[in-house]
């Protein structure tokens, strides 16, 4: 029900030129870029897909799309400065040109989840790939049952999209719970791991779809906690991360057991990967 690869742009190996329209800093090491094609329309995409962003002369890196797809002019990407390519991309300013291949990969099952309760669990930067799905669910709120957004991060100062989390929380018809791993005593919110929030929100486990994104170990604990709560593994979707190069399933860099994360993922159903999920060598 989840996997629905969407067609990429013309020649998937040729980066298209995009202009950086806006840049804003999210955290000390994380920025968000709004980019628009230098010519032609912005390709359509589905929540959960990613683009290959190319810093010319430095390298290319897979970054999830984190914007609202109802804005038909731009892509929005949140980039953490962790390596040479991401550092170069995170350092670009307004007006700079960037190469884009994509969108690639599978999507969150937001259409398939209609009529069900939906639990969205994000850890750290994992909120970025989930944000388009959240926008979609909020824009189509009547199509879903209970909606819960659970977010875990390291420290209150590391909270991605803080203002939006606060805004979502003000909605009276969804639950938003935030927790941090550590905090000083002036923090009045939750402290603890994000799977611990699952029993605190209301949903019918027999009719719930769960979307999970974050560090792999956090997703493992979360998927197990969701299953313990009664959510069937085929109703849990995870967004996997591997070293992607070609992004179209040719090079094999992102192999994950029998699958390639770039074309069979990044969004994958837990029941299909559960067996290999805990294998360290994979």
């Amino acid at each position: 029900m989840v996997q629905r690869p969407l067609a990429a742009s013309v020649d998937p190996f040729v980066p298209q030129l995009y202009r950086i329209n806006r840049v804003w800093r999210e955290l000390s090491d994380t920025v968000t870029l709004e980019i628009a094609p230098s010519q032609g329309p912005r390709p359509n995409y589905a929540p959960g897909q990613f683009n290959m962003l190319y810093a010319f002369g430095v390298g290319e890196v897979a970054i999830s799309i984190s914007g609202d797809r109802t804005d038909h002019r731009t892509f929005v990407h949140t980039v953490r400065d962790v390596g040479a390519a991401s550092h170069a991309i995170a350092s670009l300013g307004v007006g700079a040109t960037i190469g884009v291949r994509g969108p690639f990969g599978t999507a969150w099952p937001v259409a398939e989840a209609e009529g069900s309760d939906i639990v969205i669990v994000a850890g750290g930067l994992g909120l970025a790939p989930l944000r388009p799905a959240i926008y979609h669910v909020l824009a189509n709120r009547a199509r879903y049952g209970h909606v819960a957004i659970l977010f875990g991060t390291r420290h209150p100062q590391d909270m991605l999209y803080r203002d939006e989390l606060a805004a979502w929380r003000r909605n009276l018809d969804i639950s938003v719970e935030v927790t941090v791993d550590h905090a000083e005593s002036d923090w009045r919110g939750n402290v603890g791991v994000v799977p611990a929030l699952i029993p605190r929100v209301s949903f019918d486990p027999r009719d719930t779809v769960a979307l999970v994104c974050g560090p792999e170990i956090m997703m493992r604990f979360t998927a197990n906690a969701l299953r313990d709560a009664g959510v069937a593994p085929d109703r849990i979707s995870l967004s996997m991360e591997r070293n992607m190069k070609c992004a179209i399933g040719l090079c094999g860099h992102c192999q994950f057991g029998p699958a390639f994360v770039c074309k069979d993922g990044p969004v994958m159903r837990f029941d299909r990967i559960e067996r290999i999920f805990a294998v360290r060598e994979i």
Binding site: D29, R80, V82, G123, G124, L125, G152, T153, R154, D158, T179, D181, H182, A183, E184, S185, W187, R188, G189, N190, V191, G192, V193, P195, A196, R200, G214, P215, I217, M218, F221
Partner: protein, 152 residues
């Protein structure tokens, strides 16, 4: 006393607890109210009582000399605060502070330990409920110290 028995029966922690044993636990229980900022207990104090939160949020803190306390966990409605009453020398190893108004049931530790010694069925029922909580919190602590959200 009947009121305390009813409150205990309503708590998920005591779901399925034998009726006669609810009466025994209620004999060791009393109601508490803690204002925001008030401490339920402090590190090093005797663990004479543990708490079942009925309403509100409690922060578990550890403080190093000269530094602000670090909150390592928060607990909410239906959750148990404190396990040191189970393990000699029965002293708290962290502080527990009410983040907001907290209403809680306090269970007198010496009273309950005595009843558990006298009635091992009661002791076993209590252990069956405490062991999963302790294991779950141990797992959560392991995940926290991994610092999974940090740069790799």
């Amino acid at each position: 006393m009947e009121g305390l028995e009813r409150i205990l029966r309503e708590q998920a922690f005591f779901a399925g607890f034998p009726e006669d044993q609810i009466v025994l636990v209620a004999g060791c229980a009393r109601n508490h109210r803690f204002e925001a900022g008030q401490y339920l207990f402090r590190e090093g104090e005797p663990a004479n009582e543990f708490f079942l939160i009925r309403h509100g949020k409690v922060a578990l803190e550890i403080a190093a000399p000269g530094q602000q306390p670090i909150v390592m966990s928060t607990l909410g409605e239906g959750e148990i605060v404190g396990a040191s009453w189970l393990v000699p020398p029965y002293r708290w190893t962290f502080d527990a502070r009410a983040v907001e108004l907290v209403r809680a049931l306090g269970i007198d530790a010496a009273c309950l330990r005595g009843k558990c010694e006298a009635d091992h069925y009661l002791g076993y029922e209590m252990m069956k409920r405490f062991a999963p909580i302790l294991v779950k919190r141990l797992h959560a602590t392991r995940l926290q110290i991994l610092n999974v959200y940090g740069k790799r």
